[in-house]
């Protein structure tokens, strides 16, 4: 899961980076459970273009299981979207232009959403007509053949796969793509695969210091490419989430022949249905068809439009106004990242004329307030904090109901295994916070006037939220010292173990739809270190042993339930973090756009299913 | 307006001294009133002014600042904004009434038949155009001259007013000239179309004394050459005595004394004129003698006194006969030689001879 743009426009440029900081830390070395059939929520408000799941569902509904696709399922072409016709141009309004086009440098959502149209990887996640998600073989013939209890994964490449210069994609390209991840200049993409291969959380680059450029290669004990079509990964620990990880745009293929290293970031070769005809940084990007892409080899992309005209620099207000107007070119316009703006949004959501053109869903982030376990040692005081934090005050700062939903748990509604009505402190029911209860607890602990050091960052919504939290805590009897730091140093500030701060916000997002990317990175007590992401500094015997146990559970349904159970312990017993809101995003699209549905895997409109409604159809 | 003796329009031959050459008035101003509407009320800048000027003669109009002399003369040229100004009476130029003339007609007259020289040649010349352009412009307009002809005329005029190297300096800008030279340029510009009437509005005030004399001499020379009538507006009796044939003394928008230069300067009749003379230094006078300024300030023209406007400042108001009230009755200015004063002629002669003249000598 790489959707990383927070719901608020102004934080748009900052939040992804901060958030990425958060969840990229210390995820290595953690064996993840096999996630064979995760249940996830398919929520989409009003599908455009006659989608089968077009019913107006505002809240989450657990509907389908996610599966790893076999060879049959992984064979192209992709299942037709009902009513879709090829051709036409889709216009895309975006705020921020991608800084990176080299797949290995792509992580944040405004970049990955575009590069999903350009690059292909070994696997891909597909949302089908019934609303089910599956991990399919993309360049590979299937989602991966596992052996050795998850330690060995074998992929066979398809035959009709090419780069946009016509050269065939072979296992040498895959090897090259993996090896260059270790080079110094690859700094922005995901690092799961590298860490798993090196079995080293921080120093994975030592496995191949210069990448493939110094003439060195990964040994067969790590990566084998015995023939042109076979790729075998060897891990020291079971890595049952590999098919998910490989579907991330950051692991898409780079041409060994065409690799220009740093310069590849500006002019990459593409393997997907489109290529970059023109890119003017910060302004616009035109995608046209890659003539060498074979629909028959691609089970994940319908690629109906002939052309994408993407323009940048559009604010949420501008985007919303254009899409509301729905005139001229705006009729064939979508946005991947610009949710409705806070001004117009509430009216748009209520107005019947827009209902057919709205797409909404959860984003993978949960706003929670971490409580430093090493400084706030009295559980009663932590619970007092949990009771006092006003969910409504925080949510208002993020745009109200459009921006998020009150959170009872630390696990996003996108993830499987949840109890939807979980609300341990009754906060979802009473989002203003339980000030009296908090004060009673403080008095019981003889800690009225307890001093709390609170750090947040300087983005306007974060400040507004912090003020709401501060006011409630002071009312409950705390003495709050608030300090603020710039966004890009925020996670470094709170990542220091002896930071001296007691409470701080963390917006965690799952990288893919499993609790394994939420609980272990944040609450494993053996991972408390400077720069690590256990911001609550929780070191709890029960949590630690449960993490080890659940990671070995092979049944994904059971694992999902167990992750949720463990997260309940973190909230209720340890009181390490206070869940506050689940981020949401609601987008409008033009009336001549078909196939627009929310895709939970990408956290926005599913760009692979879009088509232009042609005249007369 | 209340006057005990309304000024009768028309020439009054009997009032004219015998020494004066008989001449038909070229310009005749009759009961001119100029009023400006302001935020505070109506300003009666000129209030019932009458005078005549004949060809070849020079009329000096003297008075303090704000006495209405400049306003009256700009009314002759029709330079006041008609929307903000109310002008009544008559300004007859060779029998043609300029008060009722159309703007287009006035444009034909200005700079052509009537020209004016302003006080400050620095601000009164356009900084954006060469002196040649500025001199040639009215010549082209009024005489229909071509560019080259007008330029030659400008050079000729510059030479005539005594500017050295006129052919070269014609392309200079006003700021490249000294103050006196600039005023010569002004004069050249005013005379370029041989005007019949030249109004010189304090033409030498901004200049130093030696240059003043040169400019005045120049004006007189040119008058002899062109035979124009000149109205010389000034607050300086010295200037008037040097160039004028006749004098009109103005106070608070009205004429208070009139006569030939000789008459007015040697036998002034109005206490205000006495005051003016007393406040003026004289060549050959006693250096140690104190100059006496007129006490008080001119009245507000927004609400002028209904009687004699000078009465509040007048030292001799108690000597007015009992049947006249300075506060209520407005003294009239008789045609020809005379003064607008309630004092009897005899009394004024006695007062001047006994009390004023000794101080002036």
């Amino acid at each position: 899961m790489t959707g990383t743009t927070s719901h608020n426009e102004r934080a748009g440029a900052k939040e992804p980076m901060s958030k990425r900081t958060a969840h990229r830390r210390r995820t290595a070395g953690v064996a993840l459970a096999l996630a064979g059939a995760l249940v996830l929520s398919a929520c989409s408000g009003g599908g455009g273009g006659g989608e089968p799941e077009g019913e107006d569902s505002a809240g989450p509904e657990q509907s389908a299981a996610i599966t790893f696709g076999d060879e049959a399922a992984s064979t192209g072409p992709a299942e037709e979207v009902p009513g879709a016709t090829p051709g036409g141009t889709v216009n895309v309004l975006q705020e921020t232009a991608p800084d990176h086009l080299d797949p290995a440098q792509v992580y944040v959502s405004h970049e990955s959403n575009i590069t999903r149209l350009l690059h292909r990887g070994l696997t891909a996640v597909r949302l089908d007509n019934e609303g089910n998600y599956s991990v399919l073989g993309d360049l590979a013939t299937d989602a991966g053949q596992v052996s050795d209890e998850g330690r060995t994964w074998t992929y066979t490449l398809k035959e009709d796969i090419y780069f946009n210069d016509g050269s065939p994609i072979t296992s040498a390209d895959i090897r090259h793509s993996v090896e260059r991840l270790f080079a110094d200049f690859i700094t922005q993409g995901p690092s799961y695969l590298q860490r798993w291969l090196a079995n080293e959380p921080e120093t994975y680059r030592e496995l191949l210091p210069d990448g493939p450029y110094g003439g060195e290669h990964l040994p067969d004990s790590v990566l084998e490419t015995p023939d042109e079509r076979t790729v075998i990964f060897h891990f020291e620990q079971p890595q049952n989430d590999l098919p998910y990880a490989l579907s991330m745009p950051g692991y898409a293929v780079v041409s060994a022949e065409g690799d220009t290293q740093e310069a590849y970031d500006q002019e990459p070769m593409t393997s997907g249905p489109y290529q970059i005809e023109e890119f003017r940084p910060g302004r616009s990007m035109t995608l046209t068809r890659n003539e060498y892409w074979e629909a028959a080899s691609d089970p994940a992309r319908n690629a109906y439009p002939d052309r994408y005209e993407i323009t940048f620099g559009h604010t949420r207000e501008d985007t919303t106004a254009r899409l509301m107007a729905d005139n001229g070119e705006n009729q064939t316009t979508v946005t991947f990242n610009n949710g409705l703006d806070a001004g117009q949004g509430p009216a748009v959501v209520e107005d019947p004329q827009y209902q057919d053109r709205l797409v909404d869903g959860y984003q993978p982030y949960v706003w929670s307030l971490a409580i430093n376990q090493q400084t706030v040692t009295d559980r009663r005081i932590r619970e007092a904090i949990a009771l006092a934090v006003p969910l409504n005050g925080v949510r208002a700062a993020y745009g109200g109901a459009l921006g998020g939903e009150y959170a009872g748990s630390l696990i996003s509604p996108l993830l499987p295994g949840r109890e939807d009505d979980y609300d341990p402190f009754g906060k979802v029911a009473n989002p203003q916070g339980d000030i009296a209860g908090a004060r009673a607890l403080l008095e019981e602990a003889d800690a009225v006037g307890y001093e709390l050091n609170y750090v947040h960052h300087t983005a306007p919504e974060d400040q507004q939220a912090a003020i709401a939290v501060e006011n409630a805590l002071e009312e409950a009897g705390f003495d709050v010292n608030r300090s603020e730091v710039p966004p890009e140093t925020y996670y470094d500030t709170i990542g220091v173990v002896d930071s001296g701060f007691d409470i701080y916000r963390s917006s965690w997002g799952a990288d893919w739809l499993s609790g394994s990317t939420v609980v272990p990175p944040q609450y494993d007590g053996r991972q408390i270190a400077d720069g690590a992401s256990n911001y609550a500094h929780l070191d709890d015997e029960h949590v630690n042993s449960e993490i080890d146990r659940i990671l070995l559970i092979e049944d994904p349904d059971q694992a999902a339930t167990e992750w949720f159970e463990l997260s309940k312990y973190v909230v209720e017993d340890a009181v390490a973090s206070v869940p506050v809101i689940y981020y949401r995003q609601t987008m409008l699209h033009g009336s001549l756009i078909g196939g627009a549905v929310f895709n939970d895997d990408v956290g926005t409109i599913d760009m692979q299913r879009l088509y232009v409604i042609q005249d007369g159809s | 307006m209340t006057t005990t003796q309304p000024a009768a329009p028309g020439p009054e031959v009997t009032g004219r001294p015998a020494t004066e050459p008989a001449a038909e008035p070229f310009l005749s101003v009759r009961d001119l009133r100029v009023r400006f509407g302001t935020e505070d009320g109506v300003v009666k800048a000129v209030d019932g002014l009458s005078f005549d000027v004949a060809r070849g003669r020079t009329l000096g109009i003297v008075g303090e600042s704000g006495s209405g002399k400049s306003v009256a003369n700009q009314a002759i040229l029709g330079l006041h904004n008609p929307k903000a100004t109310d002008i009544t009476g008559q300004i007859l130029l060779e029998g043609e009434d300029l008060v009722t003339a159309r703007e287009r007609r006035m444009e034909q007259l200005r700079g052509n038949k009537i020209a004016i020289i302003f006080q400050d040649p620095l601000t009164s010349l356009s900084p954006y155009h060469t002196v040649g352009q500025q001199i040639a412009e009215p010549f082209r307009k009024h005489r229909g001259a071509g560019r080259r002809e007008a330029r030659e005329r400008a050079v000729e005029m510059l030479a005539k007013v005594g500017i050295p190297h006129p052919a070269r300096r014609v392309d200079d800008y006003p700021h490249q000239f000294s103050g006196g030279m600039r005023q010569r340029v002004m004069i050249a510009m005013a005379l370029v179309c041989d005007p019949d009437l030249l109004i010189a509005d304090e033409p030498t005030t901004a200049l130093d004394v030696t240059v003043q004399a040169q400019i005045l001499d120049l004006l007189l020379e040119l008058q002899q050459e062109f035979g124009s009538a000149i109205i010389m507006i000034t607050h300086d009796l010295g200037v008037v005595s040097r160039v004028s044939d006749d004098i009109l003394v103005m106070y608070a928008g009205r004429a208070v004394e009139r006569g030939t230069v000789h008459d007015v300067l040697s036998r002034p009749q109005h206490p205000y004129t006495w005051g003016l003379l007393g406040s003026m230094p004289r060549l050959g006078g006693d250096v140690g003698k104190e100059l006496v300024s007129i006490p008080g300030a001119p009245p507000s023209l927004l609400d002028p006194p209904s009687g004699c406007p000078f009465a509040p400042r007048c030292t001799f108001r108690d000597e007015v006969p009992d049947n006249l009230s300075c506060a209520d009755d407005r003294p009239a200015l008789p045609d020809g030689r005379g003064a607008a004063c309630h004092l009897t002629g005899e009394r004024r002669t006695v007062l001047f001879t006994e009390r004023i003249r000794p101080r002036l000598l």
Partner: protein
């Protein structure tokens, strides 16, 4: 004239040097480490951070960095991530391109917006100002004056969306604003910029109307204008040949400042109409903490303001012969 230009250019250079130094040291006094942005934030170990800092050239003392920046302007610089030929205004490590490339890419948008806007508001503003001054005190004057007073206090972020809603979204009278290079079709260029020009110039037109009217009325009271009338010049001649010329001086002064800042980037207009110009580039650079880019944009904007100052002074000399360029 040549001496004037030479002297002023040297002065401008000194000013730019000062601005660059102040900006540079201010920026690097901010406790934000650009390396953190460039290095995948937090993924980097301290050693790696050091490598990135070295690659960005920010591991050296600030005065030395400034010196290298200045040298780079004249000699160009080489970065591990790419080369930055002279004049190198810095290198954006965010997208690995020389800052100047991006500035030059955005410049045509801003230039088009500014140039078109200036033409519109000068023609209209001076025109309305002349009409109002010519017909001073009449109903026309009062209408123009009060309308311009109201509009001059309007704001683009209010007028812009309003105009968009009325003219583009609801009625489609004008086409969707956007920037299309003039080289790719003057028609599209014009249509795309028409509304931004109009909105941008509405406020400026109002301001220049007021300015022009006031300046003309002041000029009409000048002694030399009275002289022109006393010479028998017609009202039209007096108005245009004498009064108008002098009224240009305050207008040129303000125009110089406006032009400089418009070309430095009309941030709000560009934001409102989603035009990819220098103003947006500056805003984006701030939100993305892209210091080299921001530095480059600010220097460029400063250069524009200084250049237009020189042009204004040259214009003074053209208008008023009393101003000598020596």
């Amino acid at each position: 004239m040549l001496r004037f230009l030479l002297r002023r250019s040297l002065g401008a250079l000194a000013i730019l040097l000062l601005i660059s130094a102040v900006t540079f040291f201010l920026f690097y006094a901010i406790p934000r480490n650009p390396a953190l942005l460039a290095c995948g934030k937090g993924v980097c170990t301290q050693e790696q951070l050091a490598v990135v800092e070295h690659n960005l050239g920010i591991d050296k003392p600030i005065p030395q960095q400034y010196w290298e920046y200045m040298v780079g302007i004249f000699a160009g610089r080489e970065f591990p991530a790419g080369s930055c030929p002279a004049p190198c205004l810095g290198f954006s490590f965010r997208d690995n391109r020389p800052v100047l490339d991006t500035i030059l890419d955005r410049l045509p948008t801003t230039l088009s917006l500014a140039a078109g806007g200036v033409v519109v508001f000068l023609v209209l503003g001076l025109g309305f100002g002349m009409v109002a001054a010519w017909r001073r005190g009449t109903l026309t004057d009062r209408t123009v004056s009060s309308t311009s007073l109201v509009l001059s206090s309007a704001q683009i972020y209010f007028l812009g969306p309003l105009a968009l809603a009325l003219l583009v979204y609801n009625n489609q009278i004008l086409s969707q604003p956007g920037y299309f290079p003039i080289t790719e079709g003057p028609g599209a260029w014009f249509a795309g910029l028409l509304l931004p020009w109009l909105v941008l110039s509405t406020i400026f037109t109002a301001q220049y109307t007021r300015l022009s009217r006031a300046a003309l009325i002041e000029q009409l009271q000048e002694d030399h204008v009275r002289t022109a009338r006393a010479k028998g010049m017609g009202r039209r001649t007096v108005f245009f040949r004498y009064a108008w010329r002098g009224s240009l001086i305050p207008i040129v002064t303000v125009l110089g400042i406006d032009m400089g800042s418009l070309i430095g980037g009309a941030m709000i207009t560009e934001q409102t109409f989603a035009l990819p110009g220098l103003g947006r580039l500056a805003v984006d650079s701030v939100t993305q903490s892209n210091l080299p880019m921001l530095m480059g944009v600010m220097l460029f904007a400063a250069l524009m303001i200084v250049v237009f100052n020189i042009i204004v002074d040259a214009c003074y000399a053209l208008i008023d012969p009393r101003v000598r360029l020596a």
